[in-house]
């Protein structure tokens, strides 16, 4: 626990920041100097030329050229005043219901000044820079657009200094609210910093990739009418509108509502650098860039804050005995349905009703070196997306029931089905029972046959060698068999990756997709063949097939074959299937296979046509359905393969006949029975 006296200090420091402006320029070799801004006369609060002793009006002085009215109108309210660190904490967290923003503003006299953001020089006062002619030497102020250090004066931990090792701010007086999320905006290599971090020498990357590449805060948090800001328009045939403000127009009337930052994709061509990622669109639709690119922070952050009358007691996470361990942000889908990283901490007010939980979003401390690239980081039962949160945040609009009673996210509530992570146990238990039951049944049947064969010795049935399966039928059958087997195998890895840790998850996903299409094309061609050739009629059960004849066949399987009876129905080229086969294949080929293919197709298509997937209930519906059907397929396969052993004189005769087309069919019944 670290006591933080946030309230007791702050004001004088901020006052001096704008009053004490640059000096000793000539003494400092690294002093900045912008020689482009013209010298200008100071104006007093009366609008007159400033004389010694008058009070200076910055807005009138700068307003001689820049439209100060527009600037004040566009400047967001939180930036218009200096608030004490405690006030800013309350504003940020929205916890101080005792005072409104207006009341807080009334509390502080300190309005922000132009120079507090636009000058990086801090050592002297404006009057000191006034020359004999009442003009301020602008070079001495080095006026420019705010650089990162200007912003860092109030916000978080910002450092553009690369020569001295970076260290943490005073955690007892976190005046810049660094600990909201622990983000560090600095170009320095983490390994070269002064942070007392575990395995520091392996951290060979910067604190923030944008700081490393010399982006400043205002590059993303830029003025909306800055002519260099990327354009957005809704005109189909226009990529870029060259009718933009010129630099001088912008400088006269710069819009100061710069709170909204550019989005990652305003600058980044995400797709070209993520080609390795299967289901790229799906990932981009459901994950913010930050989710993967801020996987871990090398810094501490708030764990809880206890607000008392004028102090805030902070408990930090990611730090143990002044040894920094860092922390992993929690990933939650917010109101937009996109998963984003947050630091989640509890706020304890004086009264019970003031207790709340705050989730601070993360946008900085970006890097690619530690970005999540391993599929199984998420697609696993120990997925980072399923990690329990410390508490349910109050400031996020989460989907109803998103966080379960164990504080783990239930992503299905946000319409997210995490393949390999979100499996429904009921489906798998049911499926497993089905497969086990089938296996048991066929084993028992096989055993019974074996015993019966030993017990009853009789003359073998008369058989005729007959050409039953044509070339295409056999090709289609085996292609389908191979594809289904491979799909079951690859699907199993995708479904439960942690059972197969040595297999490449992404490769299985890609193979599963390709094999799915092979299956689809094969099925479509087979359908065409069966329709065009009329063979389809063999598969259509007649009414008699459904009852009497099925019963006969069933009777054969359950009783007749143990008494060495013969197959009740004779087989030939025109009558390949017995009544039970007709029913089974009719179901398989017209219900199970299409359902499995279409559910798979919809899941695959969700990356490009999510509306189709959501029409059928979205992935949280399709995923479990697809898994269930896969279990049914597996059961069918077991049954099917077993039954092939019943058709010919030897157990493998059935399979052999499907390979060469010739089968030795039983022929003791009269030929006219089938006419």
């Amino acid at each position: 626990m670290i006591k933080s006296a946030l309230h007791s200090w702050g004001l004088p420091r901020y006052l001096t920041r704008y009053l004490l402006l640059s000096a000793l320029l000539s003494l400092s070799p690294h002093a900045l100097s912008n020689t482009f801004h013209p010298d200008f006369p100071l104006i007093n609060t009366e609008g007159q030329l400033w004389q010694q002793g008058d009070s200076i009006s910055e807005s009138k002085s700068c307003g001689q050229c820049h439209n100060s009215e527009l600037i004040h109108n566009t400047l967001d309210e939180k930036h218009s005043h200096y608030f004490s660190p405690q006030q800013r904490l309350f504003l940020k967290l929205g916890i101080n219901k005792r005072k409104t923003l207006a009341e807080l503003k009334a509390e502080t006299e300190n309005k922000t000044h132009c120079l507090s953001c636009h000058s990086s020089v801090k050592e002297t006062t404006l009057p000191e820079l006034v020359g004999n002619n009442n003009f301020v030497a602008a070079a001495g102020l080095s006026l420019s657009s705010p650089d990162s250090e200007n912003c860092g004066n109030c916000h978080g931990l910002v450092s553009t200094e690369d020569n001295s090792p970076l260290s943490l701010p005073n955690l007892q007086q976190d005046s810049k609210l660094f600990g909201l999320n622990g983000e560090i905006f600095a170009a320095q290599d983490i390994g070269l910093s002064a942070l007392n971090l575990a395995n520091k020498n392996t951290l060979n990357h910067s604190f923030d990739a944008h700081a490393e590449r010399l982006l400043g805060c205002t590059d993303c948090h830029s003025s909306p009418n800055n002519p260099t800001r990327p354009q957005k328009n809704n005109i189909k045939n226009l990529r870029f509108d060259p009718r933009r403000l010129s630099a001088h127009e912008y400088l006269q009337q710069p819009n100061h509502s710069f709170e909204e930052a550019l989005a990652c994709q305003d600058c980044h061509e995400v797709k070209s650098s993520h080609q390795w990622l299967p289901y790229l669109n799906q990932h981009l639709n459901k994950l913010s860039c930050e989710s993967c690119h801020i996987s871990w922070l090398p810094s501490p952050a708030y764990q809880s804050i206890t607000i008392e009358a004028d102090t805030a007691e902070i408990q930090w996470r990611g730090i143990e005995n002044s040894f920094i361990t860092g922390y992993q942000p929690w990933l939650l889908p917010d109101a937009s349905g996109k998963i984003k990283p947050f630091n989640i901490f509890k706020i304890k007010g004086e009264a019970e009703k003031e207790h709340s939980v705050y989730a601070a979003p993360l946008h900085h401390s970006i890097n690619s070196q530690q970005a999540i690239k391993e599929c199984r980081s998420c697609h696993d039962k120990n997925s980072i997306l399923l990690r329990a949160v410390p508490a349910i945040p109050d400031n996020l609009q989460l989907a109803d029931g998103l966080i379960d009673k164990n504080l783990s996210p239930r992503l299905a509530k946000a319409d997210i089905y995490l393949i390999g992570g979100n499996t429904l146990p009921a489906i798998d238990i049911l499926g497993l029972l089905l497969v086990l039951g089938t296996t048991l049944a066929v084993s028992a049947h096989g055993l019974a046959r074996y015993i019966a064969a030993k017990r009853i010795v009789s003359a073998p049935a008369r058989r005729t060698r007959m050409y039953i399966y044509g070339y295409y039928e056999r090709l289609w059958h085996w292609l389908q068999a191979a594809a289904v087997l491979a799909l079951l195998a690859t699907g199993a890895v995708v479904h439960k990756p942690w059972l197969f840790p040595w297999i490449d998850f992404a490769l299985m996903v890609e193979l599963h997709n390709i094999l799915g299409f092979v299956l689809f094309v094969n099925a479509a061609l087979a359908l065409f063949y069966h329709l065009a050739s009329g063979e389809i009629k063999q598969y259509i059960p007649m009414p008699s097939d459904l009852f009497v004849r099925s019963f006969q066949q069933l009777h054969f399987y359950l009783k007749g074959m143990f008494n060495n009876e013969h197959h009740p129905f004779e087989k030939d080229r025109e009558n390949k299937l017995n009544p039970l086969q007709k029913i089974a294949y009719f179901g398989l080929l017209n219900v199970l296979l299409p359902a499995q293919m279409f559910s798979g197709l919809l899941m695959w298509g969700a990356q490009t046509w999510p509306e189709w997937a959501s029409y059928f209930g979205g992935l949280p519906m399709l995923g479990p359905l697809h898994s269930m059907l896969a279990w049914v397929f597996a059961s069918f396969l077991i049954m099917h393969i077993y039954l092939t052993t019943t058709s010919g004189p030897k157990p493998l005769s059935g399979i052999k006949s499907m390979i060469d087309g010739w089968e030795e069919v039983e022929t003791q019944q009269k030929a006219n029975e089938h006419d």
Partner: protein, 489 residues
């Protein structure tokens, strides 16, 4: 009949093909990894043990050479044509000069001990020969070749005056130890250039005898030898020195082994057309030993000053720098070499080997240099640099008489001397190419680029010809007309 047996094969074959073809067609291809740089290195052969082949005894080093040449018949003429023997190279056309001119150590003035002519005995301690003590040395006599200095591995072989082994050298054990040249052989001369360890190059010093990876990634982490990059065939050693060579024939490059586009980050690869590998990968040199950056000959001869690391009566005043940050210039591989008799720059420092190239030259890249500044003697009437005789009984280091020293020196090399002399500032540019650092120690963006344009990084963009930091102002665009102009320079 046997054919009938295997007729069924078509079925699994067809199934397999129909499954495999789409898999091969649609499975996303993974990018091929770049070939490992070490795969481009020459194979190291085991060297034949010569201990039985060199029985000795040897009374003179020439006897060792004679023994070597008995078997290595070709070596004699090969060495006689190598620059380590001739100390000059063939005359080449140079921009701005009407006649082809010869470069080489023998023919140019440098910023340290100034020149070879007249000072042979002192300088030729690093010559691959025996007995070069005056201008009468016969460069076509192979019997004076010093095989041992490059090949002996006993570590006990030391050369002295006129390149003769010093007293006490055991020629037999040196001769029996011969092998392929190692860093020790090359370093014996090249690490101590300029009269002491680390003095001359900045990027070559005794820390490279047993270098940790932090000094040089090639020689440290991978224990590479000099000849792994300076590949040598028929005794012709690859590599060019900007201080003495006037052209770039036989130059070696990082790209002999490394791909130019090997960085994972495309932004870094964007740099390689304008920035040499060395610029980022050699952020500092002289990391273990200080290197000499200033040499003021005009202060020499003052008997009243105390001898120190910074002052020697015979040589003058010095300054050193450790962890030297290089200076950066455009460089196309050649220099505007100052040759005997060239007029000096009367309005400032004279550059002895200013790197050629500018922002408009497509072949030029920004390259790191150690710049060495000297004050050295020149003829105030003829306005050219003079070459004093420093070594020997009549040399400056004994007599401390400049007039006599430059008179003798000028005579030795055939230079006019009017009788009046002064001292002028001269600058020499030493390209930094050793002491290469791994990527994580290389320069990062903010070493050169800055977020705030008012802040300065390592490179002076305006001086290099850019309108401003190319991060914001864009990289160089080479206009065809400008490129032509500059190639006519």
């Amino acid at each position: 009949m046997s054919g009938q047996h295997f007729k069924w094969i078509w079925l699994p074959t067809a199934v397999l093909c129909v499954l495999l073809v789409p898999v091969l067609l649609f499975l996303p291809a993974k990018p091929k990894p770049l070939p490992a740089p070490e795969s481009f290195l020459p194979q190291r052969k085991a060297h034949v043990d010569h201990s039985a082949l060199m029985p000795g005894p040897y009374h003179t080093p020439q006897q060792v050479t004679a023994r070597c040449l008995e078997c290595h018949e070709q070596a004699e003429s090969q060495v006689l044509h190598s620059s380590h023997w001739t100390w000059e190279h063939e005359a080449v056309e140079v921009p701005g000069r009407s006649e082809a001119v010869k470069g080489g150590k023998k023919n140019v003035i440098n910023n340290f001990c100034i020149g070879v002519g007249g000072n042979w005995e002192g300088c030729t301690g690093c010559h691959t020969g025996y007995g070069w003590k005056d201008e009468s040395f016969n460069f076509s006599d192979g019997s004076n070749i010093d095989c041992l200095v490059c090949h002996e591995q006993s570590g006990t072989y030391v050369k002295g005056k006129a390149g003769m082994p010093v007293e006490g050298v055991d020629l037999v054990s040196a001769a029996q130890s011969v092998g392929f040249p190692t860093r020790s052989n090359c370093g014996a001369c090249h690490f101590g250039g300029g009269g002491g360890d680390a003095v001359k190059h900045g990027d070559l010093d005794s820390s490279l005898y047993f270098p940790p990876a932090s000094v040089d990634i090639h020689m440290g982490k991978h224990d590479m030898q000099c000849i792994d990059c300076h590949r040598t065939e028929e005794h012709q050693i690859a590599g060019r020195a900007l201080s003495v060579s006037l052209d770039t024939r036989n130059q070696i490059s990082c790209l002999d082994c490394h791909s130019e586009k090997l960085h994972k980050d495309q932004r870094i690869n964007q740099h390689t057309s304008s920035v040499a590998c060395q610029t980022c990968h050699i952020p500092e040199v002289a990391t273990r030993e200080s290197t000499k950056t200033h040499w003021d000959w005009s202060q020499a001869g003052d008997a009243n000053r105390e001898e120190s690391h910074e002052y020697q009566k015979i040589k003058g005043e010095f300054k050193y720098s450790a962890n030297l940050k290089p200076e950066y210039y455009w460089h196309d591989g050649t220099s505007a070499r100052y040759l005997y008799g060239d007029k000096i720059n009367t309005s400032g420092a004279s550059d002895l080997n200013k790197p050629m190239g500018n922002i408009n030259k497509p072949r030029a890249k920004i390259f790191p240099f150690k710049v060495h500044v000297a004050w050295q003697i020149y003829d105030t009437n003829n306005l050219h640099l003079l070459q004093p005789k420093t070594y020997g009984e009549t040399g400056f280091w004994t007599t401390f008489d400049w007039d006599s020293a430059v008179r003798q020196g000028s005579e030795a090399i055939g230079l006019d001397y009017s009788g009046e002399y002064g001292f002028t500032e001269t600058r020499m540019y030493w390209p930094q190419t050793h002491m290469v650092q791994a990527g994580k120690q290389a320069l990062a963006c903010n070493d050169c680029h800055t977020e705030n344009p008012n802040k300065k990084g390592r490179l002076d963009w305006q001086a290099l010809g850019y309108p401003g930091d190319p991060l914001r102002w864009g990289s160089r665009t080479i206009r065809a007309d400008k490129a032509k102009e500059s190639s006519d320079d």
